[in-house]
């Protein structure tokens, strides 16, 4: 409509009236005028092309003005199209009826040019404003819908099936009350055999909460990575992570948005659960033993006070048990009478699926809340996560490389790299062990193999309680490398020898080196503790 002359439809059975009306309209600049001689034709035109205004005669044969008006108002596409009724001066009753039926205005014959201009202009202006409002609302709706899609895609939807190395099942759901919301869940590996699970609930709902949710969500993983890096690969504890998140969220937060958080780490091998509760509802453990809430000190939500302190609570999980985290959108869901869903109903829903898969646990709770609300609008965002331990992690804990000549040494590097990947060992630990193995093995190859007889070296690598262990067994002449003289590290380039340097590296880089005579040959055990700060083991070495 903008820029062009508005499209008008004139409906009148009288040729003279139509002609007069068209001429008057043209004089006022309305050149895009279509005509119809009766109601049936008018409806046909209206369905063919869009119009901005209809001028409709009340009295017509075949289908009169009332009927056309009724049909228009019953058609969802044409309902908002403004209609000005045209009537004879004495037809006040019928004009009133038309206004009641939804006509915009009326004009009486004979036409007064000023009134015609004013009423057509006013009706068109009203339509233009309504069209603009509709377009504006549609734009906001579309914006919110894409925001919703983005927000929902920010939380993981891939729920990996349990593997021998990670025998754990996970399922989760996120249901914002409006298009977007402030709840979130996340789960990710936090190190070898440790899973991090988090749920959070940002104060308020809607777009503001959604932005703070995105900030919180990003922070969890970024901090997890940064803190692991700073601790040389060691797994950070939940309260340390929560405290750092709080510091970050207190910054640049003038609107005092805050978030309650429940952050847990689960060691898949020891099955120890560590968690920190920052103003959040207590999680549950669900299993054959029933449903029990994990009570713990509840610290302040994040984003309120920079100096808030956070504590960690430890609990032991059993194989088969399910950890259930949720936001208060579950317990505070309202039914049509304004009653709360509450903890008792939640515990009931959990009890009914106590030994089922996380997917069943999540859907049982979500379904129970939906049935309870029974058509009442969702009062708050809902996030739920269930994590179930299904067994003991079976990992490739040992790897063996056999070496009979120089050509086999690269194999040693590959085997250790593979073990390092499986256990997500940090680069420093791996580099130190690679150097130490290279030193020990090349030493044996140079001196032990010097007698020209066939020999073999067997290197067994394993990961045991935070320690990378390599056992090097050979069938060569007895030699204890720990008795070798220390190299002279002083002196200028000219008189600098490198004899003994390799074994010096081994002793410096490893946490522990142990030599023993084997039945045949030698046995050297190298141990490298990981998960400590760089300085820790240097002092001990």
């Amino acid at each position: 409509m903008s820029g062009e002359s508005p499209a008008l439809l004139v409906v009148d059975d009288n040729d003279d009236n139509r002609y007069t009306l068209i001429q008057r309209l043209k004089r006022q600049g309305y050149i895009n005028v279509t005509t119809a001689t009766n109601g049936v034709e008018a409806l046909a035109r209206l369905r063919e092309q869009p119009f901005d205004l209809v001028l409709l005669d009340v009295t017509m044969p075949e289908m009169n003005g009332y009927e056309v008006l009724e049909r228009l108002k019953a058609d969802t596409r044409l309902r908002h199209l403004p209609v000005i009724m045209i009537s004879a001066v004495d037809q006040v009753e019928s004009v009133v009826r038309c206004i009641e039926l939804g006509a915009e205005d009326y004009l009486s014959k004979p036409f007064n040019p000023t009134l015609l201009g004013a009423r057509v202009g006013a009706s068109l202006e009203k339509k233009r404003l309504r069209d603009e409002l509709e377009a504006h609302v549609a734009r906001i709706e579309a914006d919110l819908e894409s925001a919703r899609q983005i927000q929902l895609s920010m939380v993981p939807h891939d729920f990996p099936a349990p593997t021998p190395a990670e025998p754990v099942e996970i399922f989760a759901a996120l249901h914002p009350a409006r298009q977007v919301g402030g709840d979130l869940y996340d789960f990710f590996p936090l190190g070898p055999q440790t899973l991090c699970v988090v749920v959070a609930d940002v104060s308020d709902k809607g777009a503001a909460a959604a932005l703070f949710m995105a900030r919180t969500k990003t922070l969890v993983r970024t901090l997890a990575t940064a803190m692991r890096g700073a601790a040389d690969g060691a797994t950070p504890d939940p309260h340390e992570m929560v405290a750092r998140m709080n510091e970050e969220l207190c910054q640049d937060n003038p609107h005092s948005m805050f978030a309650t958080v429940l952050l847990a780490t689960l060691d898949l091998a020891s099955r120890e659960l560590r968690f920190c509760n920052a103003g959040h509802p207590s999680p549950y453990v669900v299993g054959a033993g029933g449903v029990r809430a994990l009570e713990a000190p509840r610290a302040k939500p994040l984003g309120i006070r920079r100096t808030s302190t956070y504590v960690m609570t430890r609990r032991q999980l059993q194989i088969g048990e399910c950890l259930f985290l949720f936001t208060d959108g579950v317990t505070e869901a309202l039914d049509v009478n304004g009653e709360l869903f509450g903890e008792a109903r939640l515990e009931g829903a959990l009890q009914s699926v106590a030994e089922d898969s996380p997917e069943r646990v999540v859907s049982s709770v979500v379904e129970a809340v939906r049935r309870f609300a029974c058509g009442a609008p969702q009062s708050d965002d809902i996030a739920v996560v269930a994590v179930r331990l299904v067994g003991e992690p079976q990992m490739a804990r040992r790897a063996v490389a056999t070496i009979t000549s120089d050509r086999d040494v690269p194999r040693l590097v590959e085997v250790l790299d593979e073990l390092a990947r499986t256990h997500a060992l940090d680069a420093h630990t791996v580099a130190d062990m690679q150097v130490a193995l290279d030193e020990v093995v090349s030493n044996v190859l140079r001196y032990g193999f010097a007698d020209g007889l066939p020999h073999r070296i067997e290197v067994t690598m394993s990961v045991d309680h935070g320690t990378l262990v390599a056992e090097i067994e050979d069938d060569c002449a007895p030699f204890d490398p720990l008795t070798a003289a220390l190299p002279d590290l002083r002196g200028s380039l000219k008189d600098r020898a490198v004899g003994g340097l390799g074994l010096h590296f081994v002793r410096k880089l490893m946490s522990d080196v142990n030599y023993s005579r084997a039945r045949v040959g030698n046995r050297l055990v190298l141990r490298k503790a990981f998960g400590h700060r760089e300085g820790d083991f240097h002092g001990a070495a």
Binding site: E439, S442, L489
Partner: protein
């Protein structure tokens, strides 16, 4: 281990990528030798992408440094990571070699 060589205004820059150990050290040594043996040559060895270096690697570095002295050439190392610096430190090599913080510093010092 990978070796990438570049020529920059009369200086040879050798980027060492990966690991220098008993398996790869001979190749590393040959490449050092081929540059440094040319009298009055200038070689910058860039360790930015070096994961670790074992004593076999230090042995060839020492040989190369002695060769450089004899040939009137210059050997400058640069961009040591924390891990590699630790190994240099443990071996007492930090004072033995000319070590620059960055490649640019090294090239400046070499030319």
């Amino acid at each position: 281990m990978e070796l990438l060589e570049e020529q920059i205004t009369g200086v040879t820059a050798l980027v060492v990528r990966g690991r220098v150990d008993s398996t790869t050290a001979p190749t590393f040594g040959q490449r050092l030798e081929s540059v440094i043996a040319v009298p009055k040559s200038r070689l910058v060895v860039d360790f930015r992408e070096l994961e670790y270096i074992s004593s076999a690697g230090f042995r060839v570095l020492l040989v190369a440094a002695k060769r450089a002295e004899d040939a009137g050439s210059r050997l400058i190392l640069c961009s040591l990571s924390a891990k590699v610096r630790q190994l240099f430190d443990l071996g007492g090599f930090l004072d033995l070699f000319t070590i620059a913080a960055s490649r640019d510093d090294a090239i400046l010092a070499a030319s």
